[in-house]
């Protein structure tokens, strides 16, 4: 058997199988072995993803018909450049987060490693699948896994935040099924590409139904992506979760954004006839207000973790505005920004985790506290991450921001987008400068006794931080790739889905 024929499905199967094996002897209950195993698993899936990426780049979109039933009848995985890039992003983030957890957070509750792997499986599946109902299934996988990871480590706060998170998302899942039922009942198919075809020639009397179903999906994806007014769960959930988990969650909002791209950007995109770009009028103002509220949150936060959570909301607002433009070059720019912002979000959560350990009772609150034992390493890390998230040179933030600005220069309501983006940048600059100077310099008394930062944690953070200069240095090839990805997204494949359409 030749594994290379099955590349598209491996990013899902590798975490899945490893998760299962973690529950069985010889790995079961053997913490040491488990830690090694998961790292190997992550490396494996990253490796395969890279291979898949190269394949897609060279021979175009890869379609994988599960059970050998051709789409639209069977479930098909569509590995186009965008999906694969984001899967790769997930892989790197997951590796770092998991590495961080291996320093000891993983023993603070049961089954951390398998559930973490399930989580990755769910996320990757959601990105790769080309079938609406299968997407629902993977959403549920990543959700149930996230519910379980969320309460890892226990404690009032987590249970509390989890209650809101879980029940809101349960409502979301219910709505999701309503939407799917409506869409199937009108379009009679579930495969994305086939849906796109069906949408373009839907009978006029069915239009309202299709529209209702399609827009209902926006609510679900909006909930995942933390679009205003559905974002309220995010700050508490993310700031309460264990650092490693919070870091991984940084990619979860992107699942929602990505789905909006796929469904409302493409299926209900320019070729949708009557329904072309039907979500945009909703998306525009909401995304802008999300950004605004994120800024408000940044200003209001009294602790680093809350601050980071709000920074994520800001990035979501930015991205969704870019999505609302729904043009090829903006999407390309947004994809770069998405990669950057996800990584920086994850990095900041890990850094916050370390700071919480080092500052004793003061945790990550912006108050005068005892001196940190040896703040040099974490201080530098914070500085780098802060520059990246603000969008200051020399790190990837400025490329992402500048790309977004440049790609929209000729669009209408660009003034809103630009001012929103720039002002958000300024606000985060001011607040982060304040946060950093307070956390690291405003101290008194003797250094707080703290054991040195575990090497795994250092490695994990370093791994993520390394991405920012690399994203800049190799900005040329990477942006080329994002442009190609955007192009594939919009001029994807038609049915019957032959293996590689010529691109």
């Amino acid at each position: 058997m030749n594994l290379l024929n099955h590349l598209p499905v491996l990013p899902v199967l590798i975490p899945f199988i490893s998760a299962i094996l973690l529950l069985l002897p010889p790995l079961r209950g053997q913490l040491g072995r488990q830690r090694i195993a998961v790292i190997i698993a992550h490396l494996l899936s990253i490796g395969t993803t890279v291979w898949l990426l190269l394949t897609v780049q060279s021979d175009g979109i890869q379609v994988y018909a599960l059970g050998n039933w051709q789409a639209p009848f069977g479930i098909a995985f569509i590995a186009d450049l965008m999906a694969v890039m984001i899967v790769l992003l997930t892989g790197v983030l997951a590796l770092a987060a998991h590495l961080y957890a291996c320093a000891g957070d993983d023993v603070k509750g049961s089954f951390f490693h398998p559930i973490f792997m399930f989580q990755v499986m769910g996320i990757n599946g959601a990105f790769l699948t080309g079938d609406a109902f299968n997407m629902f299934v993977f959403f549920e996988i990543l959700l149930i896994a996230s519910y379980a990871l969320m309460i890892h480590g226990g404690g009032k706060q987590r249970t509390q935040a989890n209650l809101h998170y879980v029940f809101l998302n349960l409502i979301g899942s219910t709505l999701f099924l309503f939407a799917l039922g409506t869409l199937y009942g009108t379009l009679g198919t579930l495969n994305f590409v086939d849906m796109a075809r069906a949408v373009s020639d839907v009978s006029p009397e069915n239009l309202p139904l299709v529209k209702a179903g399609g827009l209902l999906l926006l609510a679900i994806f909006g909930l995942k992506a933390a679009l205003l007014p559905l974002h309220f769960w995010l700050p508490r959930t993310y700031s309460a979760a264990t650092p490693a988990v919070a870091a991984l969650f940084a990619v979860m909002t992107k699942v929602g954004i990505y789905s909006i791209w796929r469904i409302h950007g493409v299926i209900f995109g320019v070729n949708a006839g009557e329904l072309a770009n039907m979500a945009q009028p909703w998306l525009w103002p909401l995304a802008f207000m999300t950004l605004a509220l994120g800024c408000l949150g940044i200003l209001a936060s009294q602790g680093l973790r809350t601050l980071v959570a709000n920074l994520i909301i800001v990035s979501v607002g930015t991205l969704l505005m870019a999505v609302a433009f729904n043009t090829e070059q903006t999407t390309a720019a947004a994809l770069y920004y998405l990669i950057h912002s996800t990584l920086v979000g994850g990095a900041l959560f890990l850094i916050a985790g370390v700071i919480v350990e080092m500052r004793g009772k003061a945790e990550d609150r912006f108050v005068t506290a005892r001196k940190m034992a040896n703040p040099a390493f974490i201080g530098i890390c914070f500085f780098i991450a802060a520059l990246a998230v603000i969008g200051m040179p020399p790190f990837s933030g400025f490329v992402g921001k500048a790309l977004l600005l440049k790609s929209t220069v000729a669009e209408d309501h660009v003034a809103w987008f630009w001012s929103g983006l720039l002002i958000a940048g300024l606000i985060s600059l001011v607040t982060l400068a304040r946060a950093g100077t307070t956390l690291f310099w405003r101290d008194q008394g003797t250094p707080s006794p703290a054991e040195p930062v575990a090497i795994q944690k250092k490695a994990a953070i370093a791994l993520l931080l390394l991405c920012f200069p690399l994203l800049v240095v190799f900005g040329g090839p990477i942006t080329e790739m994002t442009e190609q990805a955007a192009n594939q997204l919009y001029h994807g494949i038609q049915l019957p889905m032959g293996v590689n359409n010529e691109y």
Partner: protein
């Protein structure tokens, strides 16, 4: 290509101090200086080429889609600035070696300093707009690091933050401006842009572009009203002030004006904005400087005013003015740097910078005093010094403009006034510090600084004199080339000489000097007048505003994010309602109504459902009752499935129903039996009722529409291929295990994860166990009634048999792994209920349910992976028919293996959930598992 080395060498240089930190101070300083020194050599080597009128360029492609290239080019202006940056930089390195005390981390300091040097070089050498911004922002970042070098001091932190905020804001504006320019011109290459001035000036966006660019320049060069950050940046170590706040960083703003002079200048708007800003800054700076008691404060404000002077010159839109501006950039850099260093020395040797305390230092440090006085004189614009020359040209140019029409005479007058104030504060600097009595209680007894600490000052003051006396000979050529690239056009005639004869500018200088003298002589009354105004500390104002904004947003946010689930859920539902409801307004419900008449059965079912659901809501506070009502609804639903020809669904729904209800009952044992009185205000109840009703009607409408409309779906395919392709006659089951087997795999994964998650929740959960029910009756002592245990035990084998049967027929008739699994699970649960957890634990201790789950999942995956060995995609099914004696013809399908996996997972997961939950009722706890 050697041009790349100019910024690259200092970039590497930032690392040097970090590695040589352990060395002696002198060694450290030397090592640090080497790479910048080489860079300086390189620049000097290229100078002749530039003097010949052509420019050195080097470029590499970087991020094309951003228009960002790694592109440098060295023209006159670039040359002038890189000489300033590198030259003064080296002097500062030498100076800092003596300035920093032994215990301070000099390595870190130097590395920041060199980083800044790199950034600054990048700005002045950039040949690409985005790259220029890149380095521009880098200067802000590195200056933040330098100002906050003494981070433990509050004013250092605040000053640094303020500087960063203001310059950062300007940087963002600059980025926008540059992107617009690039968009207008269609290229981000500076040389191209500089040659398309008319294109930009005629473009409709010109005002916007100009505004944004000027915002960038003015914030960086501390122009009014953004000037207030600079004085507070004086919290930095003095070498930093000498370098950043005299020669380089603050000059970046005016550099920007010079750089884009060819494309932005020569319009009325430019004149008004730039000239007036410059003039205001000139006056405000000069005026405030007079009243500053802090030596560095005085210098800071004088810097502001001189920057205003330069800006004003650029604003005048005449070629000679631009030349004068460039000339003054040089001169100011030289004398101000030396003054800062002198101030640093004084501070260093006296331990104070307060001019009310440090007097009469002439006796203690004559040499330093002399140097400082010369520099100060140059600042005042005294003849024979470089300051005089550019000041003279400045005065001359103020006379040449007429854009303000009848009011044009104001400009020279105000300029002279500014000059007078400059003289005044220079006088104060000299007189207060070096004469004017004896030093008052200062920490140290002052004396001359170490020999080499003075060298940089000597060098700079030397330049002041040389330029002052032989301008054309010393800087003539440099000035020409620089101005050439500023104007981007042939130079006009102008002469650099001391004596232009008796003319108005000379008169103005004299007036300024005399007036300045008079002002200083009457300083007491002046101070008295000024003391009437309350002194505002920009730092405090800035800080407090920020705090206020933060508290305001906190209050606002708490109003929105009040932590109430009910609000969030309401918003979600409302949002969904809008999205789904709006389109329905245009829906014609009657379309293609293919309705079938209702029969009594359906009606009864409907009524039961209606009663059940409503009853559940009404009695929802009596939880047990509500639960019973709910289960009634569930049962009717499953019957409904059976009625509408979905036997599999009916079976599944029913078995799930059973398990769920058992689960909820168990949970209810630990939860309050009654919902505490619902405190939500009636208005909310109404609100919720109405929105629920609305959602319900929307869903109902859609449902009706779907039911009554013809649908051509892909499903015929499944019916046709079920037998031939999937080897089963039960199409639904074939879809589950074959056509869409992947969904099923995901579904059992969800089940498994849920079980694990529930274990997580249960492990370490501490719940007190109620011994009485809600009516306060104690629970029966005899937990496990005899009959039940006997019956259940005898039922077990039977039920297992049944589940096996259901499992096997699944592929062709209603049934399958999932239902079978649930049946088994229920049978086992029955045992738990009958015999109690302990009894079961004794018998099934060997069974580890999460193991069962894992094995189930593994089998399912394995059946999928198996197809790889036949070069088929994941989960491709296989089946064949065999005949055995007795048994006869029978079928084997890979799907059955998959179904087995499903079966095991379901059993395992269900048992995990229920059995472990039951375990809570015993006194033994779950222990954490990994």
């Amino acid at each position: 290509m050697s041009l790349f080395l100019v910024p690259l060498l200092p970039l590497l240089g930032t690392l040097v101090p970090l590695f040589t930190e352990r060395w002696s101070r002198s060694a450290l300083a030397t090592a640090t200086a080497i790479l910048p020194a080489i860079a300086l050599m390189l620049v000097l080597a290229m100078a002749p080429t530039v003097f010949d009128g052509d420019s050195v360029t080097a470029s590499l492609s970087w991020i094309p889609s951003l228009g960002l290239d790694l592109a440098f080019h060295l023209d006159g202006l670039g040359l002038l600035f890189s000489l300033l940056i590198l030259g003064i930089g080296l002097l500062v390195i030498l100076y800092a070696r003596y300035y920093l005390s032994a215990k301070e981390a000099a390595g870190r300091f130097y590395s920041y300093l060199i980083l800044f040097m790199t950034a600054m070089l990048g700005v002045v050498l950039s040949n690409n707009l985005i790259q220029l911004w890149f380095f521009w922002e880098l200067t802000s970042v590195s200056s933040f690091l330098l100002i906050s070098y003494w981070g433990h001091k509050s004013e250092a932190r605040k000053g640094a933050r303020m500087a960063l905020a203001i310059t950062g804001a300007g940087g963002l504006a600059l980025l926008a401006g540059l992107l617009l320019i690039g968009n207008v011109v269609g290229s981000y290459e500076l040389t191209t842009v500089l040659n398309s001035g008319d294109l930009i000036r005629q473009h409709e966006l010109y005002p916007v572009i100009l505004g944004l660019m000027l915002l960038g320049a003015f914030t960086k060069s501390a122009q009014f009203p953004f000037h207030f950050w600079l004085p507070h940046a004086m919290a930095a170590p003095t070498p930093v002030s000498a370098y950043l706040h005299s020669a380089t960083m603050v000059k970046a703003g005016v550099f920007l004006l010079a750089r884009f002079y060819p494309v932005l200048a020569d319009t009325e708007l430019w004149f008004l904005l730039v000239t007036l800003t410059g003039l205001t800054t000139l006056l405000v700076g000069a005026y405030i400087a007079v009243f500053k008691h802090d030596l560095k404060g005085l210098l800071a404000y004088s810097t502001i005013s001189h920057l205003g002077l330069i800006t004003l010159l650029f604003g005048l839109n005449t070629e000679l003015a631009a030349i004068a501006a460039v000339f003054h950039i040089i001169n100011h850099a030289v004398f101000k740097a030396s003054l800062f260093m002198a101030a640093g020395i004084i501070d260093h040797e006296c331990g104070s910078r307060d001019m009310r305390l440090i007097n009469g230092l002439w006796k203690y440090m004559p040499i330093t005093a002399t140097l400082a006085m010369v520099a100060a004189a140059s600042m005042a614009g005294v003849p024979l010094l470089n300051g005089f020359l550019s000041k003279e040209m400045f005065f001359a140019e103020t006379l040449e403009q007429s854009t303000l029409g009848a009011l044009s005479w104001l400009v020279p007058v105000l300029a002279t006034l500014g000059g007078a104030f400059a003289v005044a504060y220079s006088l104060r600097f000299i007189h207060d510090v070096f004469f004017n009595g004896e030093p008052k209680d200062i920490p140290k007894t002052p004396h001359e600084p170490p020999r080499y600490m003075r060298v940089p000052v000597e060098v700079l003051v030397g330049i002041c004199l040389l330029v002052g006396m032989f301008p054309a000979f010393t800087v003539g050529e440099l000035l020409n080339t620089a101005s050439l690239s500023v104007l981007n056009a042939p130079l006009p005639e102008y002469s650099l000489s001391l004596w232009h004869g008796i003319n108005i500018p000379l008169m103005m200088s004299v007036a300024a000097i005399v007036g300045g003298g008079a002002l200083y002589y009457n300083r007491r009354s002046l101070f008295r007048f000024q003391s009437k105004f309350p002194e505002v500390d920009a730092k405090v104002v800035f800080h407090n505003t920020l705090i206020d904004i933060m508290q305001m947003s906190r209050r606002l946010l708490l109003k929105l994010e009040n932590g109430s689930f009910q609000r969030y859920a309401f918003l979600l539902i409302l949002f969904a309602l809008f999205l789904a409801g709006m389109p329905l307004l245009t829906l014609d419900i009657a379309t293609g109504a293919k309705t079938t008449p209702a029969n009594s059965l359906v009606i009864t079912g409907a009524i039961l459902i209606a009663i059940g659901s409503i009853a559940t809501v009404i009695w929802s506070h009596k939880r047990i009752v509500a639960l019973l009502m709910l289960s009634l609804v569930g049962v009717i639903v499953s019957v409904g499935f059976a009625y509408f020809s979905a036997p599999d669904l009916a079976l599944t729904q029913l078995s799930v129903e059973v398990v769920t209800i058992i689960l909820l009952l168990l949970a209810l044992f630990f939860l309050p039996q009654q919902t505490p009185m619902d405190r939500t205000p009636p208005s909310h109840i109404v609100r919720d009722l109405s929105i629920a009703a609305l959602i319900g009607s929307v869903v109902g409408t859609i449902c009706y529409a779907l039911l009554t409309r013809p649908l051509d779906s892909i499903s015929s395919f499944f019916v046709e291929n079920s037998k031939s392709g999937g080897g089963g006659t039960n199409v639904v089951n074939v879809i589950l295990v074959d056509f869409r087997g992947f969904d099923t795999m995901g579904e059992i994964a969800v089940l498994g994860i849920a079980a694990l998650g529930i274990y997580k929740l249960l492990a370490g959960m501490t719940l007190y166990m109620p011994t009485k029910d809600m009516a306060n009756r104690p629970w029966a002592k005899d937990k496990h009634p005899m009959i039940l245990s006997v019956v259940s035990q005898s039922l077990l084998p039977l039920s297992l048999l049944v589940s096996a049967y259901i499992f096997l027929r699944g592929h062709n008739l209603p049934g399958g792994g999932f239902i079978a699994g649930l049946v088994t699970a229920v049978a086992l649960i029955l045992q738990y209920l009958a015999h109690g957890v302990d009894w079961m634990m004794k018998r099934v201790r060997i069974v580890n349910y999460q193991g069962v789950v894992a094995v189930g999942l593994l089998i399912a995956v394995a059946s999928g992976v198996g197809s790889w060995f036949f070069e088929r995609p994941f989960l491709t099914s296989w089946f064949d028919y065999f005949t055995l004696p007795v048994v006869g013809k029978f079928e084997l399908a890979s799907a059955m293996i998959f179904d087995l996996g499903v079966y095991l997972t379901v059993v395992g997961a269900t048992m995990m959930i229920l059995a472990y939950l039951g375990k809570l009722t015993t006194n033994e706890r779950l222990d954490e598992e990994h």
